[in-house]
């Protein structure tokens, strides 16, 4: 009888780490400016080893200041959104939940749009800080509304989040309707999710949120399994359910807030990666969380690489790609799983 072991989690993580490295290398090699693939890799590897050497100044800037940080950011955001999707589905016990379901996205959008309209987007951290602030306010507000008698009720939290989200959407609509043409273009790209907003230096700011958030959630991963059968069920198995709910809500929300503040609202990743990974590896969060993080990271780096190269020199918002590829692939997985089941 096979059961999940630490060894299996480590093996799967290691196996999923290779494609991630490959995707990063691939994304460093391609782009609108042509740098010979072998040259790109050697520039990257030498710089990682602390050497300078090959390549022209421009090639080095393209690889080391643009493509590589962007791939890392896309990976972080992909991992963050996927993990946060897993958690919201468990916390709300709703398979339709995604990182944006409780309004964090709308809050950060309001923050970002205000920053764009005020011209703060030109400042190096203006946009991410404003959108992060908007997200934080929403997280606090929804948490406050979603609590009743000191407890979180998933359905009340869900309602509070959805309603706060729609209220914020009204504000977004209002801002859209009064924006000028150029601002409008920026806003729409932000709403669709686009890594051209990403400031490479924001890695250092986002990384702690996503890494620490992930570690805390992983610490709770076995308890998350138990809550899938209901709160009373988890409670009678000795889980501190109220603490679990608060910790997962806060961690998943902060991860989402940090992710969207970099690149806007990339849709679909947080919904389809968790489900796809569950179909492949099963619902145990001890494996699901790291596998989702790694697959989500690879998926978003690949999508972003595609988005910036397919119509080069024009860059598409990466959200277009994630939705266009993610949707059909997910349907395929669902159908396939059904076929297997009826056999």
């Amino acid at each position: 009888m096979k059961i999940l072991t630490l060894k299996k989690v480590l093996t799967v993580s290691l196996l999923l780490f290779f494609p991630l490295v490959l995707v990063i290398l691939l994304s460093v090699m391609v782009g609108s400016v042509r740098v010979a693939p072998r040259q790109s890799i050697s520039i990257l590897l030498q710089s990682l080893l602390g050497q300078t050497g090959t390549g022209t100044e421009m090639e080095r800037t393209i690889i080391l200041s643009l493509r590589f940080p962007r791939a890392l950011l896309a990976g972080l955001v992909g991992a963050g959104l996927s993990v946060s999707g897993v958690i919201f589905q468990a916390l709300l016990r709703n398979p339709l939940a995604d990182p944006y379901i409780l309004g964090v996205s709308s809050g950060s959008a309001v923050g970002a749009i205000i920053a764009i309209l005020l011209g703060l987007g030109a400042l190096s951290f203006g946009l991410p800080l404003a959108s992060f602030a908007g997200a934080l306010m929403t997280i606090a507000l929804v948490f406050y509304f979603g609590k009743q008698e000191g407890r979180i009720h998933p359905n009340i939290l869900l309602l509070a989040g959805v309603i706060t989200g729609s209220f914020l959407s009204a504000i977004i609509m209002f801002f859209l309707s009064i924006s000028q043409k150029e601002e409008l273009h920026t806003i729409i790209f932000w709403l669709m999710g686009d890594f051209s907003f990403a400031n490479p230096r924001s890695i250092t700011i986002v990384l702690p949120y996503i890494v620490v958030g992930f570690l805390i959630l992983y610490w709770k991963s076995r308890h998350l399994n138990l809550i899938l059968s209901g709160e009373e069920n988890a409670l009678q198995l000795g889980v501190n359910v109220e603490q679990l709910k608060i910790v997962s809500y806060l961690c998943a929300s902060l991860i989402t807030a940090a992710s969207v503040s970099i690149c806007g609202l990339i849709g679909f990743v947080g919904l389809i990666i968790p489900h796809s990974v569950r179909l492949i590896f099963g619902p145990d969060h001890r494996l699901l969380l790291p596998a989702s993080a790694l697959i989500g990271a690879s998926f978003l780096i690949a999508s972003d690489t595609f988005a910036r190269t397919v119509l080069a020199p024009v860059e598409l918002p990466v959200g277009v790609i994630t939705a266009a590829f993610g949707g059909p692939f997910f349907i395929y997985l669902l159908r396939k799983r059904k076929v297997v089941k009826t056999l």
Binding site: M1, I3, L4, T5, L6, Q89, A90, R93, P95, Y218, W219, K220, R222, H223, N225, L226, L228, S229, G230, E232, N233, L235, Q236, L237, G238, V239, N240, R278, G282, P283, D284, R286, K341
Partner: protein
């Protein structure tokens, strides 16, 4: 083993039950019966601290439940829920292993000892052959057994069952209760079961607690509790109580409206 000392509980305003005192001995098979809203489920939930009474206290082996950690309680008392589901389908063996949770730390994986215990539990409940199946592929009866096996994997002293036979056909009802009875008789587990099925309660339980409006109306052996007077008083409907010809335990017969039926029976 479990002592209720004049406990009262309410959700918001009205007391669900008031001033209930009760002692449950180790190894008893107890049935909690009573009409809808009489407080059966709520009483069961206070026994494992899913709910805490506002007044009075529950003692488990003379320790107040409120002073125990949730994990400590889970090592002594297991609950078989009324609805057995999981949002995303685990395999049967994974589900049963969850019963080991109270013994594991945060970042721990179940080891070979846990697997042995889970296997024994699955063997006892006869679900070893389906241990690799996903629980959403199982029938209602099989799923009930999975949750019994999970409760056994907790290695508890007490098992609480809330309406365990709801949604089961008579064959599965009897199978299921025979299994519970064997846990009680052979493993010495204390069983506390809330049920709407008075005949099942009468047949299987050593002692019955009949609740009415949040108070204990009658407590005693099935013969003492399941009488026509008690049942008519508490449930407010006419019944005829005779005796199961095989087991000689009291048996409830439902009657359609109309007095003449009872009078005819009384003449006999």
């Amino acid at each position: 083993m479990i002592d209720l000392r004049s406990i009262s509980f309410r959700y918001r305003q009205d007391w669900v039950f008031q001033d209930i005192s009760l002692g449950i001995e180790r190894g008893e098979f107890i049935g909690v019966i009573g009409p809808n809203g009489s407080g059966k489920s709520t009483l069961l939930k206070t026994l494992c601290r899913l709910l805490s009474p506002q007044k009075g206290e529950v003692l488990l082996n003379s320790t107040p439940l409120k002073d125990m950690k949730q994990g400590e309680i889970a090592r002594k008392i297991a609950v078989v829920p009324q609805e057995a589901y999981s949002l995303f389908p685990f395999r049967v063996v994974e589900m049963v292993l969850m019963g080991r949770s109270p013994y594991l730390g945060h970042l721990m994986f179940e080891g070979s000892k846990d697997l042995e215990i889970a296997k024994k539990a699955m063997d006892w409940t006869e679900i070893l052959p389906i241990s690799e199946r996903a629980i959403d592929e199982l029938s209602g009866g099989e799923r009930k057994r999975v949750f019994i096996a999970r409760a056994l994997a907790q290695e508890p002293e007490v098992i609480l069952l809330d309406e365990p036979t709801a949604n089961l056909d008579i064959h599965h009802q009897v199978d299921f209760l025979d299994l519970i009875l064997s846990l009680n008789r052979e493993k010495g587990l204390t069983i506390i079961m809330a049920s709407h099925d008075l005949n099942i309660a009468s047949e299987y339980c050593d002692r019955l607690i009949l609740l009415q409006g949040g108070r204990i109306f009658k407590i005693g052996s099935p013969r003492e509790v399941i009488t026509r007077e008690n049942i008519e008083e508490v449930y407010g409907c006419e019944v005829w109580v005779d005796e199961n010809p095989i087991s000689k335990m009291p048996r409830i017969n439902l009657l359609k409206k109309g007095k003449h039926t009872i009078e005819t029976l009384e003449k006999d």
